[in-house]
Symmetry: C2
Amino acid sequence: MANITKKVSWSSRADESGAAGEGTPLLNGSEQPKLSRQDSLRGRPKEIPHNEKLLSLKYESLDYDNIENQLFLEEERRMSYMGFRCLEISRWVVCGLIGFLTGLIACMIDIVVEELAGIKYQVVKENIEKFTEVGGLSISLILWAVLNSVFVMLGAIIVAFFEPIAAGSGIPQIKCYLNGVKIPRVVRLKTLLVKVCGVICSVVGGLAVGKEGPMIHSGAVVAAGVSQGRSTSLKRDFKIFEYFRRDTEKRDFVSAGAAAGVSAAFGAPVGGVLFSLEEGASFWNQMLTWRIFFASMISTFTLNFFLSIYHNNPGDLSNPGLINFGRFENERVAYNLYEIPLFIAMGAIGGLLGALFNVLNYWLTIFRIRYVHRPCLQVMEAMLVAAVTATVSFTMIYFSNDCQPLGPEHTEEYPLQLFCADGEYNSMATAFFNTPERSVRSLFHNQPGTYNPLTLGLFTLTYFFLACWTYGLAVSAGVFIPSLLIGAAWGRLCGILLASITSNGSIWADPGKYALIGAAAQLGGIVRMTLSLTVIMVEATGNVTYGLPIMLVLMTAKIVGDYFVEGLYDIHIKLQSVPFLHWEAPATSHWLTAREVMSSPVTCLNRIEKVGTIVDVLSNTSTNHNGFPVVAQVAGSDEPAKLCGLILRSQLIVLLKHKVFVELARSRLTQRKLQLKDFRDAYPRFPPIQSIHVSQDERECMMDLTEFMNATPYTVPQETSLPRVFKLFRALGLRHLVVVDDENRVVGLVTRKDLARYHLGKHGLEELQLAQT
Amino acid sequence: MANITKKVSWSSRADESGAAGEGTPLLNGSEQPKLSRQDSLRGRPKEIPHNEKLLSLKYESLDYDNIENQLFLEEERRMSYMGFRCLEISRWVVCGLIGFLTGLIACMIDIVVEELAGIKYQVVKENIEKFTEVGGLSISLILWAVLNSVFVMLGAIIVAFFEPIAAGSGIPQIKCYLNGVKIPRVVRLKTLLVKVCGVICSVVGGLAVGKEGPMIHSGAVVAAGVSQGRSTSLKRDFKIFEYFRRDTEKRDFVSAGAAAGVSAAFGAPVGGVLFSLEEGASFWNQMLTWRIFFASMISTFTLNFFLSIYHNNPGDLSNPGLINFGRFENERVAYNLYEIPLFIAMGAIGGLLGALFNVLNYWLTIFRIRYVHRPCLQVMEAMLVAAVTATVSFTMIYFSNDCQPLGPEHTEEYPLQLFCADGEYNSMATAFFNTPERSVRSLFHNQPGTYNPLTLGLFTLTYFFLACWTYGLAVSAGVFIPSLLIGAAWGRLCGILLASITSNGSIWADPGKYALIGAAAQLGGIVRMTLSLTVIMVEATGNVTYGLPIMLVLMTAKIVGDYFVEGLYDIHIKLQSVPFLHWEAPATSHWLTAREVMSSPVTCLNRIEKVGTIVDVLSNTSTNHNGFPVVAQVAGSDEPAKLCGLILRSQLIVLLKHKVFVELARSRLTQRKLQLKDFRDAYPRFPPIQSIHVSQDERECMMDLTEFMNATPYTVPQETSLPRVFKLFRALGLRHLVVVDDENRVVGLVTRKDLARYHLGKHGLEELQLAQT
C-alpha cells in the first residue's frame, strides 16, 4: 500500500497556505511575515531553516498555455494565411539572430579569457623563472595568488552586489524556467552583462571552473531579449515581434537560446537540441525542434567563423566550440569488446565520485545558505577560494618532481621548467598552470608517458576538492570543465595503471582513450544527463566511434549515482525550494484525487464585477491569488453560479490601469476598447496593484470581464486522480486548473505548488511544506 | 481573413457521417455500402476514386490516454513502491530485449543478403566473362534478368498474397501508429516474417531498393510482440508483462523498437532516438527517452557484435550498422567557408530532384491504386521492374567504355572486365553490378578519377527513374539507399565538374566529399526529415565535421522541396486517406470551435443500462461508434442527464462476453467480479459483437457500468477553439473528447477524424471528405 508519511487535510485548509502559493514578488508591499496555519499552530520560528523538504511560495508560475480570450481569438481570426507565414518566417529570423548573438558572445568571452589568461600566465611564468634561480619562490606564489584573487574579487563583487541570480552556471535556473517556474530577473539584460563579465573574471582568476555552463544561461537571456523586440531595462521598444510578447512564445525562444548556448560551448548543435529536449520536452513539436536546431547551427557557425579569424586561420571551420576536445584519430579510437566491462567499471567509479561530489556540495550549500548569505562574506569566500587554489596549485607544482622532456612539437602553452633539467618541463604544471580547457586537452592527447601516475593521482585529489568548494560560490562559472578535468585525470591514471599491470601493453598504450571515458564518467556522475551528454561528448571529440562506450559509461554513472543522491542541478533546485514539476506524478500517487490536492475555497469573480471588489481582492496581501475563476450567476435564479472563464491578476491590473469600467446602468458600448496590444505592452513587468490609484467613485463602477477572460479554461472533475491531473497540467503547461463538480460549479483550483508538493521520498510518498522563504 | 473553400454544417450532420468515423474493421459483417449523406446527396458513385482529399473511415484510433476506471485505479493503488520499481525494471528489460532481437534480425538479413547476392553476382560474373570472349552476351543478360525476376517474384508473392501491409518500407505505417492511428495488422508476427523474407528477396533481386527502411518496421513489430509477453498468432501466452497490455504502454515500446531499427540500419543510436522523436514527440518524457536510447544502443551493439564474428573479426566494434558509409578521414573532410554556398546550391538541387521524384511517384501510386490492385498484377509488375532493372543495367554496362585500372588494393567485390584491357575493369559496373550499399560506399571513397562524368550522369539518370518506379511496388523495401545512391552519383559528378572548371584543382580534389553532400541533399529532398537525418548521416560517416554542411543541405532541400510537394512518406499517408494528426492545428482555424467540429448527436448510455440496449447500440452497423459517454439521470428528477463517464466498445464487448449482468431488483453484489486481467487478456483483438450470443432473457438484464467506465474523461466547452481542442487531443493522445455545455451535459463528441478533416490547402483552410474506402 502506498503510504504518506505526513498527511494533512489540505482540502480543508484556508487560503493563506494553499492558493497563496501563487504569491507574486511584484507585491512587494505585502512582505509582512506570513505564516501558514500549520506553521503558526506548531509555533515555528519565523525563519524556517533551509532544507529540501520545503516549497517556497515566492515563485510564480509562467503561463505556458495561451490565454484564449475574445481579443486573442479575434486577432487570430483576422490574421490571414500570409500573416501566419510571416510570423513563421520572423520566428526563424529571431532564431537566427539568437544563434548569431549567442555565438558572438561566446566568441567574445573566449577571446577575452585567452588574452587575459595569457598575460597572467606569462607574468607569473616569468616571475617564477626569475625566482627559481635566485630563490624566493614565495614571492611568485604571492604574485599568483594576488592576481587570481583580484580577478575573482571583481567577478564576485558584480555578482554578489549587483545580480545574485547570475551566480553559478545558470543551468538550474534555465531548467526551472523551461519547466514553467518564473525565477525573478533570470532573463534580464543586466543578468547577462554580469554573467559575461563574471565568467571572464572567474576563469581568468584561475578558479576550478569552466566558461561553458554560463553560455547556456547567456543564450537564454539573449533569446528572451531578442524575441521581445525591446529591452525593458534600456527602455527601448523597437515595435517588432510584438506577437511574441507572451510566455508561450518566449519559452520557445528561450529553449532555442539554451540550445544555442550549448552548441556554442561545446560545438555540439545536436547536443544543444537534445539538451533543450531533456530539460523541457513537454512542449515539443517538429517545427520548434527545427528552429532550435537552426539557432544551434548558426551559433556554432558564428563562433567558429570569428574564432578562425582570431586564430589567423579565416574560413577554417573545424573548431566549432568553446571547448574542443581535439580530434581523436581513427587508429587510436578503436576499442575492443573486452574493454567494455572496464568502461562500465569506470562509469561506476564516476557515479560514486559524482555522488560524493554532490553530497559534499550539498552540505557546503546548506552551510552557505545559513552562514554566508551576506554579499561581502560571499566576495571574501570567493577570494579565499581563489587564493587557496593558487596556493595549492603552486605547492603541488613545487613539490612535484615529474619532469618530462620538452619535445620539439610540445603543445604546452606555458611550460614551467622550475627545478627540472634544461629541455625538460614540470608535468604537474601542465595540469595546474593552464586554463582548464587546455589541461583537459593535454590529458586527452598527450603522448603516453607524459604524466606519471603520482602526478595524476595528486592532481585528481586536490582538484576534486577545489572544484567542489568552488561550485556554488557567488561567481558565475560552470561545473562542466572541472568535472571533465577530474575525470580525465583519474581516467588517464586508470589507463596508465592498466598498461602497467598487463605485460603486453600494446592495447592499453593510449591512456588518452581512458581519459576520455573517465571524463564522461565523472561528468555523468555529477550532472546525470545521459542522452544530451552523450551527443555533446561525441560532437566535441569529433568522432562517433566512442558513442557506444560513452553511452554505457554515462548510463552506469547515472544509475550508480542515483542510488545515493540526485544530480547536482536537481540538488540546487531543491535547495532553493522551487516548485519544480518532474516528468510524471510520483508512482504511488494514484489514490490522491483532485479533491485532495486542490486549494479551496476559491476566490471567484462575477462576469460583471464591481471595481471595488476587484481592487480589494487584488490588494488582499494575505492571499495573493494570481488566477480567478469567473462565474456567471443565472439572472433572477437562485441556482449556484457556473464557471464561465478564468482571468489572471496581470490582466485585471491592466484593465484597472486603463480604467476599463462601465458605469452602472450604462450599456457596454461606452466601455473603452482595450486592445491586445495594451496587454502586450505591459508584459512581462505588470505594475503592482498598489501603484494603481482607484478613486472612491470608480470603486462603484463595474467591470465587464467577458472579453478578457479565457472563456474555455481546462477543467477536471473532483474525482480525477493526481497522475491524470498532473499529466494534463504538465502536458499543456498550465498555471491554473479549475476543479469543478458535476454541475460545472467551481470547487477548487490546482496550481503548480499543489502538484509539486508530492514527491517520492525514502518512506514512500511525502508531502513538502509550503513556506514563505 | 481565413477562408474555407468548402464549408458544410457538420454540426447538423447525422450519425452516419460523423461519429461513424470510428468504424471498426472488426465489424466485418457491417461492410455493406455506407454513403455519407453528402455523397448520396450529390449522387456520387459508390466507389470513390482515390485522391488525397479524402479521409478513410476504416481507420480506428488507438487509446493513448489511460482508461482510468475503478479497476485500474484499484490496481494502481494496491501496487507498492517496489511494484512500480519492478515495473520500471521490466520496462528496461523489455527494451533491452527489443534492441537485442532487432539487432539480431538486422544481422540475419544482412548475412543472408550478402551470401545470396554473392552467389548471384558470382554466377552472373562468370557467365559474362565466359561470353565476353566467345560473344553472345545476350545469354548473360537473360540469365541476370531471370535470376533477378525469380527472387523478386518470391518477394512479391509473399507480400501481395499473404500480407500486403508488409509492402514498402513501413515507415509511413509506423508514423501513423505512433500518431495514434490503428493500421490493421501492422505489428503482427506474420507481417514481420513477410517483411524480412520480402526484403531479402527484393535486395537480392537487384531492385533499386535498400534493406534499411524495413528495419524500422521490423523493430516496431518486435517491440509490439516482446512487450506483450505473448503471441496471439502463435497462441502462446507467457503470462509476463501483462501490465503492458494496453495501447499507451505498447506505443512506448513501439517507438523504442522503431528507434532500435534505425539504429541497427545505420549504426546510429542517437539518430534512432531522434527519428522516434520527430515522428511522435507528443508523448515524450525523459525516462522513456532513456529507455529508447538503451534499446537503440543494444541494437547497434548486437548487430555489430554478430557481424564482427561473421566477418572473422570478433570483437571489432567499428561497423555498427547495416550500411556503413566508411570512415571519412580527417584530412579529407576539411571544408572551407566558400564551399558553403556550393553545398547550399546542392541542397537546392536535391530539393528539386526530390520533389520531382515525389511527384512522379505520386502519379505512379495513383495509377497503381486505380489499375494495379490485384495481387497477381502486382507480382507481375514487380517482376517486370526486376527484369527492366537488369536489362537497363546490363545495357549501360555494355555500352560504357569507362575503363579504369584495377589497382592492387581495389575494393570492388565483383570487378567486371568486359571489353576493357587486361588489368582494367568497367567502371559503370561498379555502380550497377553491386549491392546498392557497396555502390554508395565506392562513390564516397574511391580515388578521384575512378569514375568519369558521363558514367555518373547516365547512372544518375537511369537509377533515378528506376528507383522512382520501384518505390511503391508490392515488395518490402526501403527508399533510403536508392536516394543516397542517386545523390552520391550526382554529387560526385558535381565534385568532378567543379574540379575541372577550376584551374587549381587541389581543393576540389576529393569528389567523395561532394558525393556525401549530394547523397544528403537527395535523401533530404525525398523524405524531408532534417534533425534525425542529420544525426543519422553524421553517425553513419563516423565523423562530425560534416555535421554543419549536412544540416544546411538538408534544410535547404526541405525548404525547396516543400515549396513544390510534401515528403514521400506524407504523400503515401495522404493517399491512403489516413486521419493523421499533424503537430498543430491549421494556422487559420481559430474561428472554428468545438461546436462546429464535433459529431452530434451522441449515443449515450446510462450508468445502469439494459443489456438489450447495449447490444442494439453495438450492433448498429450504420453508426459503429467506439466510445460512448455514460450519463447519470438524477433519480426522480426531470433534469437532463449529466456526463459521468466514458466507456469504450471494446470494454462493453468484454463485459457482454463475460455476462456481467445484474438481474433486475437484485443487489450489485451478485454481479460477477471482473478483473482488469479479463480486459488485458482480450486485448488487442476484441471479438466482434456478432460473435457474442445474448439470449432474450439476458437482454432484459441490466449492466452496471460504474466500475468499468473512465469516470473522469476530459471535456471541453462548446466554445473552445479548434486549436485548443487540437492541442488537448494531440498532447494527451486522446481518442474521444466529450464536448459539454455549461451544465455538464453531453452535446457532442470529438474524434480524430473530426480534427484531421481540416487542413491548409492552396486556397486556405480546406475540409476533407469522409469516405468508406
